[in-house]
């Protein structure tokens, strides 16, 4: 938090002017409110001084009440109070508008980035970081907008007040000129000193809640290991350090708060002393002294707001710089050149000399060649980490090969319109992602689809029975706010989603792993008989492998053997070992 940002004011001015230019009217209204408020506040003191001189002192000296004067004094005080009140409304409402609009704008840009960057970006950046950008970074980047209008108002206020004091008497102005820099310095010192402990407090609050979260999440393990006391000790350490940082902050507050309150008071005492001498020599009258005292009181607090502004500025600069980096992330390359249209029949797929890697790691796929003839089913078999998923992701162009070419119906994927590719290829993942919506919405993904097609897809995917059994059938809400589906049901729903699009190439990346083996086999049989599509299926179960036209054995980033299941069993000892391991696993899954 304690950021010393080089060129802070230049960079701060740049970011602020960006914000202001996006919302010029709201910002101007808010500053106008702040400025009128400042004038009205000074006006109040002027009126009080006037009233003292022209109403209060004469009335009490003469004992005669000037009714007209008294009433107009009352009206003036009331009016100026109401002006102050309404200008506060103006300032606060429009300052909030600028801040919230700025936040919405940031958020729009961020989510556009999140949606348009290549998948690789998401793989490399933790979800938490991306959400933090959309949450705390955006708040930090725009927080400076809250004290900004009032800070501008404060500058106006100080200028008005100094002019006003100078009009009363230059000697009183001198006291003010001595006092205000002192206040500014103390405020700066205060915010600077409090900055670190304030950050500590926040971090340690976070630490306490992390310990508590973790500890209660693992309560069962804590119990079974008999570690309750160790956990209490761990929390006590976190709680102690939180207490310490709060006490440190308390000491700083305890030092500065009374000081900041006392300084203007001492100023007023000095002013009264000098003021009353000036009255006695006839240079001033009593009302002017009262007015000056009120002015002093007026100025103490706004100085603090200015302090918060100065404190927020670096945070905003740093956070907005961070957001700018995110927003500048490279977007996915879009359509290139000719955009040939694919025929409406099952498409042959070819991987030619494909090499693929994630970041700086050694290649996941290396010089890989594979062909899926049109309308055929190829089973992809390989150990964990062999590169099966990467191979699958090449097809809908979630990743592009570093070297080599993937062709669809004989055309290089990169020469096709991405929309055309996604229309032709459907990839079903092992991890099913469901949207927080109805079963229907999850399958149709917002596109108008006839009930017949829905039924057809759901029948092949064997999802129709359980969907019908849901409380509201197709309209049952699913996910966080709705019904929880089992792993197998989720996978079948995802398969329905893919089949509904009548893909010309279907890629199943271990997409039925959680489905009951009997149902899985039935799904694959139905797929073969009722769907004209080329299929690549990542398989673990023998029953699945046996259904394929051909098996491709992936090992060490390349296809090491191809043929029917029986052929591979006789030719590849590694294949035999792997299949044996799968076989042991699938024996006996119940409950």
């Amino acid at each position: 938090m304690a950021e010393r940002v080089p060129g802070i004011f230049r960079r701060g001015a740049r970011i602020l002017s960006r914000y202001i230019r996006a919302n010029p009217l709201a910002f101007s209204l808010s500053v106008l409110g702040a400025a009128i408020y400042a004038a009205a506040a000074v006006g109040t003191t002027v009126i009080i001084g006037r009233v003292t001189n022209t109403v209060i002192i004469p009335t009490f000296e003469s004992g005669r009440v000037e009714r007209g004067m008294v009433i107009s004094a009352g009206i003036a005080i009331l009016a100026v109070g109401l002006v102050r009140a309404s200008t506060i409304i103006l300032r606060r409402y429009f300052a909030a508008m600028v801040a919230f609009r700025t936040q919405r704008n940031w958020r729009r840009q961020l989510v556009a980035t999140y949606l348009e960057v290549p998948l690789k970006y998401h793989r490399e950046t933790p979800t938490g970081t991306l959400l933090a950008h959309a949450d705390s970074d955006i708040v930090a980047a725009s927080e400076v907008l809250n004290p900004l209008p009032f800070s501008i108002g404060v500058v106006t206020l100080v200028v008005f007040a100094i002019i006003n004091l100078a009009m009363v008497d230059w000697l009183l102005m001198m006291i003010a000129l001595l006092l205000f820099p002192g206040l500014i310095i103390i405020n700066r010192l205060y915010t600077r000193r409090a900055e670190l402990p304030l950050g500590d407090v926040q971090r340690r609050v976070g630490q306490v809640s992390r310990v508590a979260h973790e500890s209660f999440d693992g309560a069962l393990v804590v119990k079974t290991l008999g570690r309750e006391q160790d956990e209490v000790d761990r929390l006590a350490v976190a709680a102690d350090s939180l207490r310490e940082s709060r006490v440190t902050l308390g000491r700083i507050r305890g030092t500065f708060e009374p000081l900041i309150e006392a300084l203007p008071n001492l100023g007023i005492i000095a002013l009264l002393l000098i003021g009353s001498w000036l009255v006695s020599v006839g240079r001033l009258n009593t009302g002017q002294v009262v007015q000056a005292a009120a002015l002093f009181g007026l100025l103490a607090f706004p100085m603090r707001v200015f302090g918060y502004f100065l404190q927020e500025l670096p945070r905003s600069v740093v956070a907005s710089a961070r957001l700018d980096v995110v927003i500048a992330a490279e977007r996915e390359a879009l359509a290139t050149g000719g955009v040939p249209v694919l025929p409406d029949t099952p498409l042959a797929v070819r991987f030619r000399d494909v090499t693929c890697r994630h970041g700086e790691d050694p290649p996941v796929l290396e010089h890989l060649d594979l062909e899926i003839p049109a309308g055929k089913v190829v089973a992809l078999v390989g150990a964990t980490g062999a590169g099966k998923s990467t191979l699958c992701e090449l097809l809908p162009r979630l990743v592009d090969p570093e070297i080599g070419v993937v062709t669809l119906g004989g055309i290089d994927l990169r020469e096709l319109d991405p929309a055309e590719v996604r229309d032709a290829v459907a990839l079903v993942f092992q991890e099913t992602f469901l949207f927080n919506e109805s079963a229907r919405e999850n399958v149709t993904l917002g596109e108008p689809v006839s009930d017949e097609r829905l039924l057809e897809a759901a029948s092949i995917a064997h999802s129709i029975d359980f969907i019908r059994a849901l409380p509201d059938g197709w309209d049952t809400e699913i996910g966080e706010r709705g019904i929880t589906l089992s792993g197998g049901q989720r996978q079948r729903l995802a398969l329905t989603r893919a089949l509904l699009r009548r893909p010309r190439v279907l890629v199943l990346d271990d997409a039925t792993s959680a489905v009951d083996p009997v149902i899985e086999a039935a799904i694959l049989r139905d797929l073969r008989s009722s769907l004209a599509t080329s299929t690549l299926v990542v398989a673990h179960r023998i029953s699945t492998i046996e259904l394929a036209d051909e098996v491709a054995f992936l090992d060490g980033g390349t296809i090491v053997a191809r043929g029917s299941h029986a052929e591979l069993l006789s030719s590849s000892p590694d294949y035999v070992r792997l299949v044996q391991a799968y076989n042991d696993l699938s024996a006996g899954e119940i409950s």
Binding site: V55, L266, A270, L273, N436, G446, G588
Partner: protein, 632 residues
């Protein structure tokens, strides 16, 4: 008189300040829960208004430090009040006795008065600091103790009925609830006392000049309180809508992040974009409608300041001379009027904070009042080493909320037996396992382990000799080594390595990026489910228990880890009594004894062959399994 001329602005910016702190609190992942908890607490609070005193009394009994803290706070309040009242009195004195005195300007008096006032201002500053720091020390140590006590108590409670909600609640008790009390202790509580003393002091001083003007001020200022509360209620409601909307926006954003792959695979960017835009616009609308109250609430002080000031000037000038008021007195009253408005508005502002804090406090105290249902014995009997026999006599269990889960279960299991428990979800098999490890006590009947009633075995001995290996091997955010070492108190690195070796896990550990020093991540998420189970097994091996209760994993594990796991489990089980909650029939097949549970009743017992021959529920399960995988 800090900002006495503009009491409204003082408050207004106070609020900006609160927002700043609030914004920073967003870094805290629990901030959102926190907000939700707060809103809920505010709702609760209104129902339980009358109970505030009860909570206060119980809270005082729980934290006797508070009594001392209260005295310091009162002292602090009086000192602050004196500080704030000094200047208006000085202004009046100087005008009355220094400037407008009959004999003209009195230098001596003015000097003395100013000197005295300066001395008071300085000493108030110093005393404020001393008392404030004492106050912080007291309240912070009280909060720290309350937090640690509540946390300890939460862990002492039975975990038998733990679920997601319950865990969230417990976390809220020791985090957000305590934080609401902390915030109240830092601002609200002090503000209450200081404001009350300042208001009372100001009215007293004012009535020295003119009791009539004091009365007028009071009458004018009173409506601030209900008005403030009214607006604050609206504002809170507005903010609670904002929170809901923010939650919706974030669930949309996280959907677009977590669903990055399917969104790209199916070209759903435009659809997501549209939904996000709707969510963000709704959030903005909610924010602006809450901002309306936020904008309208704070100028109240200025508006009322104007009314009060105008009334005092007019009434004071009109009738003042008749009441024996003088010019200095009236001017002092002008300053005093403004001293009173700030505190009154502030009280209005903290009313809801107070209720939230009291509700939070009540929740923490309620937690502390929850009886510990699993009471540890005073002088227990230690368990012997080696495999342990189990004796279960007429055991039944009923959750505090809900019907019976287990009914009259009796079975004797000789030491060294491998037992498999089979049954559908909700059959009571998991509860049965929990009772064996004393995660809860049976409602009826007795469980004896190694001939000793579970209730007579001290916690330490139980932790060592009876070990449960849960389905999901939860890990702490530390290294693998540290996580395994938790298996037994005082385990050395050599012990950890030995346990790994005994279970045949050396190859697995060697394959990890940093071996035993690999960081496992939050909740062990850096490791696969299978690997987490390996850790759970290694922990158990370290403890060398005589009774092992295993909750078999249901989720799929990759073949290599699965082999390692099976092997390790086999080695771990050797020479111990094991009770496994079986999800695979192969586990049951290999067991010495199978217990079949149905709706809380132990319906069948026997070996695999016996039960298959019997033709009951187990046989039925077995047949359906054969049907499923007939070909392999």
């Amino acid at each position: 008189m800090s900002a006495d001329v503009t009491p409204g602005s003082d408050l207004a910016e106070h609020d900006d300040l609160a927002r700043l702190e609030h914004a920073a609190a967003f870094d805290d992942p629990t901030a959102l829960d926190h907000e939700r908890a707060e809103a809920a607490a505010a709702a609760d609070a209104s129902e339980k208004r009358g109970r505030a005193l009860t909570v206060l009394r119980r809270g005082l009994a729980e934290s006797p430090e508070l009594g001392r803290g209260f005295k310091i706070t009162v002292l602090f309040a009086i000192i602050s009040a004196i500080g704030r009242l000094t200047i208006p009195i000085l202004v009046q004195q100087i005008i009355q006795n220094g400037l407008l005195a009959d004999e003209g300007f009195r230098v001596g008096f003015t000097l003395t008065a100013c000197g005295l006032a300066a001395a008071i201002v300085v000493s108030v500053s110093i005393l404020s600091r001393i008392t404030y720091v004492r106050l912080v020390l007291t309240s912070e140590s009280m909060l720290r103790n309350l937090r640690v006590r509540a946390f300890g108590h939460a862990h002492a409670l039975s975990v038998a009925d733990h679920n997601e909600t319950r865990r969230g609640d417990l976390t809220a008790r020791v985090t957000s609830d305590i934080e609401t009390i902390a915030r109240f202790a830092q601002y609200g509580a002090v503000a209450w006392i200081v404001d009350t003393v300042v208001v009372a002091g100001t009215l007293i001083v004012m009535s020295f000049y003119s009791w009539q003007l004091a009365l007028v001020t009071m009458l004018v200022a009173t409506p601030i309180l209900p008005l403030f509360r009214f607006m604050q209620r609206r504002q809170l409601k507005g903010y609670s809508i904002v929170r809901t909307r923010v939650g919706q926006t974030f669930s949309e954003i996280s959907e677009s992040v977590q669903g990055a792959a399917p969104i790209r695979a199916y070209g759903l960017q435009r659809r997501s974009r549209k939904r996000l835009d709707v969510a963000m616009d709704q959030q903005y609308k909610a924010e602006m409608s809450a901002a309306r109250w936020f904008a309208f609430m704070f100028p109240l002080g200025d508006a009322f300041g104007g009314i009060a000031l105008a009334s005092v000037v007019m009434i004071g000038a009109w009738w003042g001379p008749g009441w024996g008021l003088d010019a200095g007195g009236l001017i002092a009253c002008l300053f005093l009027v403004q001293l009173i408005l700030g505190p009154i508005a502030e009280i209005g502002e903290i009313l809801d904070q107070t209720q939230t804090a009291i509700a939070g406090w009540a929740k923490v105290l309620n937690l502390l009042d929850q009886p510990i249902d699993v009471v540890e014995p005073q002088n227990g009997t230690e368990l012997p080493a080696g495999a342990l026999a189990l004796d279960i006599e007429h055991v039944g269990f009923t959750y505090r909320t809900g019907g019976p889960v287990l009914t009259d279960v009796s079975i004797a299991i000789p030491a060294g037996t491998a037992v498999a428990i089979v049954g559908e979800t909700g059959s009571g098999k998991t509860t049965f396992a929990k009772l064996l490890t004393r995660l809860a006590d049976p409602t009826t009947g007795v469980i004896s382990v190694g001939g000793i009633s579970l209730r007579d075995i001290p916690a330490a001995s139980r932790a060592e000799h009876i070990r449960m290996v849960p389905q999901d091997g939860f890990m702490f955010d530390a290294t693998l080594r540290e996580n395994i070492a938790m298996g037994r108190r005082g385990a050395t690195d050599a012990d950890v390595e030995a346990a790994i070796n005994e279970l045949g896990l050396d190859d697995w550990v060697a394959g990890l990026p940093h071996g035993l020093d690999t960081e496992v991540g939050e909740r062990g998420e850096g490791m696969s489910v299978g690997e987490r189970q390996l850790v759970a097994l290694a922990r158990a091996q370290l403890a060398d228990p005589g009774l092992l209760v295993l909750d078999e994993a249901t989720s799929a594990v990759d073949p290599r880890t699965e082999r390692t796991l099976t092997n390790a489990l086999h080695r771990l089980s050797e020479g111990r009594t094991t009770v496994s909650i079986a999800h695979r029939l192969s586990t049951a097949e290999q067991a010495d004894l199978i217990l079949v549970f149905d709706k809380g009743v132990l319906v069948e017992r026997g070996s695999h062959d016996e039960l298959v021959a019997e033709g009951g529920r187990y046989a039925e399960l077995y047949r359906s399994w054969l049907g499923n995988t007939g070909q392999s």
